[in-house]
């Protein structure tokens, strides 16, 4: 145990952070996308370490299975393969460093503030059944709004991809 964290957690965290760094630093854009996928997988393993089975598997199914594919498709369909950047690091890197440090400080403060005062609390066992019951009883409105959002997205995709109606030759 290092700083109260297990070895497994430290290893997975290092892999996740390495993937995220790779996604920011690598020259080839598709390599960046694949490195981001490693980050997603690392996050899924972290969820599983916290005994959140549903969240972990949903992370793999949605992020690795769908979002990563979406990212690589978007890269391939919008830019040429093999064009690598000349400058990997931007010229205004001091400003970027300052903003990143500010965001990190904010997130760190939020996480440290949320530790319970009365010591470690035993985590309650949440099964998939509990998640389902919560979705149907307590969170039914967000569920329905998400469904409407997904339907709108699908209809929008179909409309964008639909071929335009051909103008008749006689008309001008």
């Amino acid at each position: 145990m290092i700083f109260g964290l297990t070895v497994a957690f430290v290893l997975v965290a290092m892999v996740t952070v390495a993937g995220a760094m790779g996604a920011a630093v690598m020259r080839n854009v598709v390599h960046c996308a694949l490195s981001l996928t490693v980050t997603f997988a690392g996050l899924a393993i972290l969820f599983l370490q916290l005994d959140a089975q549903f969240a972990g598997f949903a992370q793999v199914l949605v992020y690795v299975g769908a979002v990563a594919i979406l990212v690589v498709f978007a890269i391939l369909l919008t830019r040429g393969v093999g064009t690598s950047l000349i400058y990997v690091f931007s010229k205004q890197w001091t400003l970027g460093l300052g903003i990143a440090a500010a965001v990190f400080a904010l997130l760190g403060w939020a996480v440290l503030k949320s530790f319970p005062v009365s010591g470690p609390v035993a985590a309650s066992e949440v099964t998939v059944k509990d998640i389902g019951a919560a979705l149907m009883n307590q969170y039914v409105l967000p569920l329905e709004i998400t469904a409407v959002l997904l339907t709108v997205a699908m209809i929008g995709a179909v409309i964008v991809a639909m071929p335009e109606k051909k103008v008749k030759e006689g008309e001008q």
Partner: protein
Amino acid sequence: MNGIWGQLDQIFVTLQHWVAGLFPVWLQPVVATLIAVVGIVAAFPGIFALTTVLERKGLGRIQNRIGPNRVGPLGLFQPIADGIKSLTKEDIVPVSADGLVHFLAPVLLVLAVFLGYATLPVGRNMVLLNMDAGLFFFFAIGASTELSIFMAGWSSRNKYSLLGAMRAVAQMISYEVPLLLSSVVVVMITGSLSTVKIVEAQGGFTGIFPHWYVFTPWGFVGFVLFVTAALAETNRSPFDLPEGESELVAGYFTEYSGFKFALFFLGEYLGMLSIAGFAITLFLGGWGAPFSFLAFLPSWGWFFLKLLAGIGFFIWLRGTMPRLRQDQLMNFAWKFVLPMALLNLVVAGAWRFMGDGWLRWVVSTAVLGGAYVLLGSVLMRRQGIGPRSYRYAE
């Protein structure tokens, strides 16, 4: 279950506990898991080898030829010859190919496919990981295989590979939703995502007939949709446009040779076996016997018999049906399979709440049959298929 048949049923479990018992107590869980993993790694590639021979002989017979018959009796040692060939072939990597991604793609595929076997209940008490969300684990891992296919196609720096990879990924994504929806029906009725509970829920018998989900209207439709989507997910005929030899050379594994090609082959067939195994678990009663008087035979024997029947069906389908074109494939997925899967969900819900009796059978069958006929006729009307016409060269 007692007696000699009960012992035979649990023989692998007893073996595992006996070997684990030879080690100190703190090491026993690790050793037990390791033995189960070794069992999976030994059994399923063995079935893969048998499948390759069966496929070549079966396809040969369907196509009115004999198939391989030189190596061993009836050509049964052909997989050994294939293995030696693929190990000794030169591994050609194109100069402009992306080396690391090119190497990692088959590794990732085989890794993901082997992980998927973890929650498959092969027999009574014979599952590697009895997870609360076991079925979800399988589908999540299966979604990762699409990424390896894309990696293979992109890293080869070959237009045919990239085209094949894009087609394959589009096909796999389109059929992922019907695959999940047709399995959600089973989860809904069983009330659990655990594969062990799903098999146990199908374990009862009325008279001599089993309670398998395939014998209910919604289960039958779900089974057909699941098998269709499974064939498309594993790029298997008639959905094998991404790897058809007459279409795209070899699609996304054009630039792979030697052992990496064998790894792709292995990954694809193992994926087919695992998804057939899950179809059996979800709809065909897993390791349960088909008749109550045959329930004394070992559970793992029934599972592998059903798996063999499933493989035979896939091979038969490959030899018989013509290949679907890419747009036909996508039309089929989004316009037919997906609406049927959603309707199946509604019908299964109605089934659950209508209570026991003959009424729910009649209503379910009528709704599903009517929807099938209606949807089919509406979609076929737009195809404009008339009597066959021939065009000859002048």
